[in-house]
């Protein structure tokens, strides 16, 4: 490989990885459409776009870089809260993902289509103009957080935003300090993160600059807790973490109290709105009962918790100014308060000034009506001293149901970290029928269990896998192929030494050699098997992508569809899985667009509104069968027949003789399907011949079943691996060709006189059946040699049969096939080549293409 193509391969590999991650996360977002997005998820997607931009920039992939730039920018605004994640934005992101995939495809091929370039421009422009400019709020909630400027200065813009969001929402903030041994602090931190994640949001991880001893290092994690101190302490039991609370000063009290009064003029509210200007670190969010409360009351000089305080119209002194600096070294000192205050108007934050006050009022009201809810650091709402779960509103007016006093912390509904497809697969395993159905609607989307969440958040890589370029594996497999040839030579030598062993020593030597060669053979087989296994990937990889597609097409088509996936764990050769996505996409698209009826039509036919599209894989011996099914209207074979006759694919007489199954299989004929036939037929058509061809290249077979009114199912039968196949070696005109054995049905020996000619076309009688027959030498325009008899290799795919006459049979052999890539892709009738030793290259016949050709000849005859 040239250095250039190596770099390109490197780029494509890494970009693919990024896009896969992007697709996974977007799938989760898409599933949870309408609900609030997990900031981690949005940030993850942003990072993916960011990486893609950097990567494509480095590799001079200008179009990808440009689109990634636009996408990153959009995501940046999203994660920084400058833009709302609505349907339009999400659709744009999904569209961008599609465009990235198309761009990457072109980059890999070294092409650049105008249409795609135009699309990139249009999308970049649209994404740039998305969302309205956000009005800058008058005050920055972050100013109320007592945190050393020094600490704040190491936050990235994003971390700062998350901190601001947490303050704005009144989440209790903590500094979690933990010291670890330098040698394995990442493990310790990962564990700490795993524990913390279900309890809230880790906003930042700061290595403490103070040397933690010779071999130690300390970290401060800034943490927004969704649970109270007790739950937090329980959650962190056994870790070296020390907790200290961060203080948030009350918000502009004037507005708050005035509005409080406006909303609840006569309400008696516990504690004070503005007078309690300070919460001391260490005790603020805890409220371990009366002691803490009393302490608070004493040190803070505020009203005792059980003393009702009437909020009056006279606003107390603005708390920000009136705040007494916090005492104690552990907590945050409020140095630089005045600077913060000065800086605050400039700092952007997403609450609009128009609605800000009102929102606060609503929030305050909600809190006021929930006296049990603990509001440790929410100083702008009244505080209550009773321990209880922390309220964590997901929106200003939205109070979680658990706020009423259940002691167990219930994390806010975090977006599922488990893609729905995985869920479906999991469910499928448990389902007795092996096929599970899950609705595609967001409401049905499963929520990740805490266990799944924690597993996800570990910072260490959980996989034990190494990414290997498939080309490298191909190289190794080639090498095994060559070793196998050497082994065969050794075996021959050993055999001849054993047989010609006139001298005793030589005979003994021959036996030894034979034994060692057998040992070598076994090891080589194991090596070959291991390498083939290394190429295997679960077919679920492509199912995942399809699940996303289905969601989109379903939306576009205005249909209601459940996608039932099973067997995603079935493994296939990587190459096959890659090549499968296009044919499967085609079939699924057809199923949704044309197979499945509209909800109303379904109801009229007495079917449930919601249609089921099935995608299942199953291993059967050396083959994998993939089924794409729908419970739609089925294919109308009468229409198929009409179309086939109109298009001259078959004659009327032929049609009369054809079985229903044969008629259905006409849909795979090139020229059968056109855009027009799609709308005419109740069924399908777009490019099914292409699908069939794609599968033929994979030595696969496609078959269709359909019943009117009941639905349609396509069965794709594929070999488990392509790399090494068993082949029959045949000789024609002095040339050698390999025929994949999986498509050979039988071999018959035929005398020239047994060949009959029907309407200038040669056929054979095979047990009473007429078998179409071609001479490979004629088909390939090779000089024919006179032979006393022909060997006829009967090949079959799906329902089609063809006899191929050859001169000689050379036996069977495992061969390592190489595709005729690059400049030779358009060669007809040859699917690849293999090396049989002595540097001789033998071509592998493309049985599907030859069948097609043979059949075409037959049809022309009619």
């Amino acid at each position: 490989m040239s250095p250039g193509s190596k770099a390109l391969a490197e780029f494509v590999a890494e970009a693919t990885e990024i896009l896969d991650a992007l697709a996974r996360d977007l799938l989760v977002l898409d599933e949870r459409r309408g609900s609030e997005a997990d900031p981690d998820l949005v940030n993850g997607i942003f990072r993916a776009a960011h990486s893609l931009k950097g990567l494509s920039g480095l590799f001079g992939q200008e179009r990808i870089s440009r689109l990634a730039h636009g996408t990153e920018d959009l995501l940046d605004r999203l994660r920084l809260g400058k833009l709302l994640l609505d349907g339009a934005v999400l659709d744009s992101l999904i569209e961008a993902l599609d465009a990235f995939q198309a761009l990457l495809g072109e980059a890999a091929r070294g092409t650049e289509s105008e249409t795609l370039s135009a699309r990139v421009e249009a999308m970049s422009a649209r994404m740039a103009s998305m969302g309205a400019p956000v009005e800058v709020a008058a005050d920055d909630p972050l100013d109320r957080l007592e945190l050393e400027a020094q600490v704040r200065s190491v936050f990235t813009e994003y971390e700062e935003h998350r901190l601001r969001e947490n303050v704005r929402r009144g989440v209790s903030l903590w500094r979690v300090r933990a010291a670890f041994d330098l040698s394995d602090f990442d493990k310790g931190l990962a564990e700490l993160n795993t524990r913390l994640k279900p309890l809230g949001e880790v906003i930042s991880t700061l290595p403490s600059a103070q040397p933690g001893g010779a071999h130690g290092i300390a970290f401060d994690l800034i943490f927004g807790a969704q649970v109270d101190r007790e739950a937090l302490e329980t959650g962190l039991k056994g870790t070296p973490a020390e907790l200290s609370a961060l203080t948030v000063r009350p918000a502009a009290a004037a507005a708050t109290s005035a509005l409080l009064q406006a909303v609840q003029p006569a309400a008696t509210i516990h504690a004070s709105a503005g007078a309690k200007s300070e919460t001391r670190p260490g005790d603020a969010p805890t409220h371990d009962g009366a002691a803490g409360a009393a302490q608070d009351a004493v040190s803070g000089g505020v009203a005792a918790p059980d003393v009702p305080v009437r909020v009056t119209g006279a606003a107390p002194e603005a708390p920000r100014r009136g705040a007494t600096p916090a005492r104690g070294s552990r907590g945050a000192a409020s140095r630089g308060t005045s600077e913060d205050a000065k800086a605050s108007p400039a700092a952007g934050h997403s609450t609009s000034p128009k609605s800000g006050g009102k929102k606060k009022a609503v929030r305050a009201t909600a809190a006021a009506m929930l006296p049990e809810a603990q509001q440790p650091l929410l100083s702008h709402v009244p505080e209550d001293m009773e321990p209880g779960p922390l309220e964590w509103p997901t929106s200003d007016a939205d109070v979680p149901a658990n706020a009423g006093g259940s002691p167990s912390p219930a994390p806010a509904p975090a977006p599922s970290s488990v893609p729905v497809v995985a869920y479906l697969q999991g469910a499928a395993k448990a389902s007795p029928k092996g096929l599970s159905v899950a609705p595609m609607a967001p409401s049905g989307a499963p929520v990740g269990t805490p266990a799944a969440l924690t597993a996800d958040t570990s910072l260490r890589s959980l996989t034990q896998t190494v990414r290997v370029d498939i080309g490298r594996l191909d190289g190794l497999i080639n090498m095994v192929g060559e070793l196998l040839l050497i082994k065969a030579n050794l075996q021959r030598l050993a055999e001849s030494a054993r047989q010609d062993g006139a001298v005793a020593l030589s005979k003994l030597f021959g036996q030894e050699l034979a034994r060692e060669t057998r040992g070598l053979e076994r090891k080589l087989e194991a090596l070959q098997e291991g390498l083939l296994e290394a190429r295997m990937v679960p077919v679920g990889q492509v199912f995942d992508k399809l699940a996303r597609l289905v969601r989109r097409i379903t939306r576009e088509a205005g249909k209601e569809i459940e996608l039932a996936i099973s067997g995603g764990e079935v493994e296939l050769d990587k190459l096959i899985v890659e090549e499968l996505s296009d044919p499967l996409m085609h079939l699924i698209r057809n199923a949704i667009d044309h197979g499945v009826e509209s909800p109303d039509a379904r109801l009229a036919a007495g079917k449930p509104r919601r249609a089921v599209v099935g995608l299942r894989a199953e291993q059967k011996g050396n083959h994998v069968v993939i089924e794409v099914s729908d419970d739609g209207s089925g294919i109308d074979e009468v229409r198929v027949r009409e179309v086939a006759i109109t298009r001259g694919l078959i004659t009327f007489a032929q049609a009369q003789e054809m079985s229903r199954r044969e008629l259905l299989n006409l849909i795979f004929q090139p020229g059968f399907s056109t855009a027009r036939s799609v709308s005419e037929l109740s069924g399908r058509g777009v490019g099914l011949d292409v699908v069939k061809n794609n599968l033929g290249n994979l030595s696969g077979i496609i078959d269709v079943w359909s019943e009117r009114g009941k639905g349609t199912a396509f069965h794709l039968t594929l070999p488990v691996t392509l790399a090494i196949i068993r082949a029959l070696l045949v000789g024609v005109s002095g040339r050698t060709y390999a025929v994949p054995l999986n498509s050979v049905l039988e071999i018959v020996s035929v005398q020239p006189r047994e060949i009959r000619t029907v309407e200038r076309r040669e056929v054979l009688d095979l047990r009473g059946q007429t078998l179409p027959f071609v001479r490979l030498s004629r088909m390939f325009a090779l000089p024919e040699r006179p032979v006393g008899r022909h060997f006829v290799v009967v090949v079959g795919l799906a329902q089609e049969r063809l006899g191929i006459a050859v001169d000689e049979l050379h036996g069977q052999q495992d061969i390592v096939t190489k595709p005729l890539g690059g400049r030779l892709q358009s060669v007809r009738g040859i699917s690849g080549a293999t090396d049989l030793g002595n540097r001789r290259t033998v071509l592998v016949l493309d049985v599907a293409a030859l069948l097609e050709e043979g059949m075409a000849v037959e049809r022309r005859r009619a």
């Binding site: 780029f11 950097g54 813009e157 602090f185 990442d186 403490s208």
Partner: protein, 124 residues
């Protein structure tokens, strides 16, 4: 005696690209890592003459790494370069405020980095 330069960058392609650029400068030995955590682990084990770090990384961010280095008496003299992307002005400004010596905006050409390396490492 070659001097050691630490490169902290989570994107593999960027990391190898930058590493290749730095390695091309004679007299430099490159140590690379994909994470801030790893960087913290590497610091006491090597004597780095210069550190090049990305800002947005998944574990600890580059600013925190700069702060850690600059606050630690053992490392505070080590010059730090930050790698940023255009548009992230706040992060860049903070990095410089924390004591980063230089910033590079991705993508950049080998020449600009090489000149900076030579200046800070006092290479001929």
């Amino acid at each position: 005696m070659r001097v050691k330069v630490l490169i902290v960058e989570d994107s593999k392609a960027s990391r190898e690209y930058i590493a290749a650029m730095v390695e091309a400068v004679e007299g430099i030995e490159v140590v690379v890592t994909s994470s801030g955590f790893e960087a913290l682990k590497l610091l006491p084990r090597h004597r780095f003459e210069l550190i090049i770090t990305d800002i947005n990384m998944p574990d600890i961010n580059g600013l925190e790494l700069i702060n850690f280095v600059k606050k630690n008496p053992n490392y505070r003299e080590v010059p730090l370069f930050i790698i940023t992307t255009e548009g992230r002005d706040q992060d860049r400004e903070r990095g410089l405020a924390l004591g980063a010596a230089e910033y590079l905006v991705k993508p950049f050409l080998p020449g600009s980095l090489e000149a900076l390396l030579r200046r800070y490492l006092k290479l001929p």
